[in-house]
């Protein structure tokens, strides 16, 4: 009996250690999303829920890369839409039209991300703050114009559609359930990997260096942090995440249209990061859900908003304003406050119970 109890205790201790590990939450979320897919295939969940899940996961990947720039590097960039669009067109052109294998496509995209990241990084060495935001905005416009005009690559105004892909020698054609399931699984895997990569970057010396750079350039430099190295790194990482997000996007929607990668998309990604909490991974996921997912999953089904579709936009805008005004650290702060209150109440109750059980101490 004693041995059994000891075994259970040990198991509980190890379970606690696993739960406390940062990866657990991410893998758990990934599992939950996979279970959602299973439920969908049993017909227990509507398609809009699944679509919301995919959109939230894809945009979270993009936003995580962006948070490395803004939340940790302190560099505001508004060219995200151009990078995401680039990723989607690379996938659509290289894999969809040219029939390169997925690995080659990924490798080439990595090279492109490296090049773009280097260019923007070097720009960021000279230009700072708001000026950098506006110049990257200009870069985004240049990329958009490039997409619209260079129609061999992007399909111009007719857009680039994406019908099938091959992974590990198995061909998936759009239209049947297998394609959708495969894309969903890939997205979930990428989502979990992106989260794990982000937490590793944040907790590593690189993340600390970025944080030091955000707080003060001069102080970081005097501590021996190379500004060139880490700024370039931040931009390259962010671009890689953005391109990856674009590739997932075209796999999911099967279509990418040049004029859609405009300023408002970059602003929405920025809003998701700010509203959720720029330095928290789950906060970003919440922010993405609020900006992109809330409308398609919840608000479209409320009768009041169905009658007045214009109010959805107003509601979203007002929500952003309110959150930024009252929770400048993001919605994750709200959750932390709630958690604090709950823990405090629980402690009080516990003390009351002890007083009742063991009597007042002297």
């Amino acid at each position: 009996m004693d041995r059994v109890m000891r075994g259970i205790n040990r198991f509980l201790r190890e379970f606690k250690a696993i739960v406390k590990h940062p990866y657990f939450g991410y893998v758990f979320f990934g599992m939950m999303f996979l279970i959602l897919l299973l439920l969908r295939n049993q017909g227990m969940v509507t398609i809009s829920v699944i679509n919301t899940a995919v959109i939230v996961m894809i945009y979270t990947v993009i936003s995580l890369g962006f948070s490395l720039l803004l939340g940790f590097g302190g560099l505001a960039s508004l060219g995200t839409a151009g990078f995401v669009g680039f990723g989607s067109f690379l996938m659509g052109y290289l894999h969809g039209v040219k029939d390169y294998s997925l690995g080659v496509t990924l490798l080439l995209s990595l090279c492109v991300a490296l090049a773009i990241g280097l260019i923007v990084g070097f720009i960021s060495l000279r230009i700072e703050g708001m000026y950098l935001a506006i110049i990257t905005l200009g870069l985004g416009e240049i990329l958009r114009q490039f997409f619209i005009s260079y129609d061999i690559f992007t399909g111009g105004f007719s857009g680039r559609s994406f019908r099938e892909f091959t992974i590990f020698g198995i061909n998936f054609v759009s239209g049947d359930g297998r394609y959708f399931n495969m894309v969903y699984i890939i997205v979930v895997i990428m989502f979990v990997l992106a989260m794990i990569a982000t937490i590793n970057i944040i907790k590593s010396p690189t993340g600390r260096a970025l944080l030091a750079m955000k707080n003060s350039d001069s102080a970081a430099q005097s501590m021996g942090i190379s500004l060139i190295k880490y700024r370039l790194l931040a931009f390259i990482l962010s671009t890689v995440f953005a391109l990856l997000g674009g590739m997932l996007y075209i796999m999911h929607t099967k279509y990418s249209y040049a004029p859609q990668w405009n300023l408002s998309f970059s602003l929405e990604i920025l809003a998701a990061v700010i509203v959720g909490g720029a330095q928290s991974i789950f906060g970003i996921a919440i922010g993405v859900f609020l900006i992109f997912g809330l409308k398609i999953s919840v608000l479209n089904y409320i009768p009041f908003f169905q009658e007045n579709p214009a109010l959805i936009v107003i509601f979203n805008g007002a929500l952003i304003i309110l959150v930024v005004m009252f929770y400048p650290g993001g919605l994750i702060r709200l959750l932390q406050t709630l958690k604090y209150i709950v823990v405090k109440r629980f402690g009080q109750l516990k003390q009351k119970w002890r007083r009742y059980r063991y009597g007042e101490d002297d």
Partner: protein, 366 residues
């Protein structure tokens, strides 16, 4: 005209080489020195001046000056719109230290109101159209003025502790709110606004004939009047002094007895009014009033403000002039790549002068 193609390509190449030369000299020579030499800044200035001047000279040589003047005159409406929008953006940046993404939406709101007023008046009475347009313009400016005031008093003032990126997000939320509100208030169809006049004025200079639409004259005159009044106010009134003080440091200004709340609120209101004039002219020169009609202008306004530097009021206007000039000449070179050429040139200039053409370096406490 094949001559244009080659000549402009040559200019672009000359410019690119000059900048490349500067970057090489800068990285190889100046950066090695512990104390940056004084003549480095002068070298940049000389290079940029040479670049822009060669562009001018070559453009005049290729187009001949009457044609260039003609192109410039036909683009004056765009120029007025850009200058007004830029001034609004800079005014808000100075007092609230944020880029106002809602500038275009505030302007469009005013333009919608103005258009509705004009159409109602014209349907009801049969008087002079110009008078109604002026009434409409005035009412639109008033509405945008009030809108700016409400936004500052209601939202921006309460969010003063928010970081500047956070403020950007607030203005982005405002964009969404206004985007939803405009169709509810004014109906979802784009409305056409009649022009002040569709006639053109033709006058001769020597043997050359120049054509200028009357509409452009209206735009130039109104913009000039507004700008002169604004700059006089900035230079000589107590409000202008307050704006300049708030721009240099809000906290110190408020300690010195400047009522920064009033200053900021007035800046937002005036920026709204300026935007409304710009949107009004944008709508009445052929385009319709649409929800998203001012977005392109707004992006250009940001670029102009960066090009001319946010730290002065005159600089952005020069920036707007240059952008207008570039974008009116660029289509003759290549219509599809216009945006790429214009923004590429701006990017090069800003890389050489990170604080803009007329930016002053301010000492920063570490």
């Amino acid at each position: 005209m094949p001559g244009i193609d080659i000549a402009i390509r040559q200019i672009l190449i000359v410019n690119a080489i000059l900048f490349l030369l500067f970057f090489i000299i800068d990285i190889a020579f100046f950066r090695k020195k512990i104390k940056r030499p004084v003549y480095r800044g002068r070298l940049i200035n000389v290079l940029i001046t040479i670049g822009i001047l060669t562009m001018f000279v070559a453009s005049i040589k290729v187009f001949t000056w009457p044609l260039l003047l003609q192109i410039f005159l036909l683009n004056t409406v765009d120029l007025s719109i850009l200058i007004l929008a830029t001034t609004g953006v800079v005014l808000i940046f100075k007092t609230s230290v944020t880029t106002n993404f809602a500038q275009g939406m505030m302007a469009t709101f005013g333009a919608f109101f103005a258009t509705t007023v004009v159409i109602r008046l014209m349907a009801k009475y049969s008087g002079s159209q110009t008078l109604y347009l002026f009434i409409g313009l005035f009412s639109g400016v008033l509405v945008s003025f009030l809108l700016g005031l409400i936004i500052d008093v209601g939202i921006i003032r309460r969010g003063r502790h928010v970081s500047s990126v956070g403020k950007q997000m607030i203005t982005m939320g405002l964009v969404m709110v206004l985007m939803g509100a405009i169709p509810v208030i004014f109906g979802s169809n784009p409305i056409a606004l009649p022009a002040f006049s569709i006639d053109v004025e033709i006058f001769n200079i020597g043997e050359h004939i120049l054509v200028i639409p009357i509409q452009n004259l209206y735009a130039i005159v109104i913009t000039l009047v507004v700008l002169v009044v604004l700059f006089t106010a900035l230079r000589f009134t107590k409000w202008g002094l307050g704006v300049r003080a708030t721009a240099s440091s809000e906290m110190v200004a408020s300690m010195m007895g400047v009522n920064t709340r009033v200053i900021t609120a007035m800046s937002w209101a005036i920026a709204g009014g300026l935007g409304a004039i710009a949107a009004f002219f944008y709508a009445s020169s052929g385009a319709q009033v649409q929800v998203a009609s001012m977005v392109g202008v707004q992006v250009n306004a940001f670029m102009a403000a960066v090009l001319g530097s946010f730290s002065s009021f005159g600089g952005p206007i020069v920036g707007a002039l240059l952008i207008n000039l570039f974008s009116s000449i660029a289509p003759f070179y290549d219509g599809t790549w216009q945006v790429v050429i214009v923004y590429g040139i701006i990017l090069l200039i800003v890389l050489a002068k990170p604080l803009g053409l007329f930016g002053k370096k301010t000492a920063k406490k570490v």
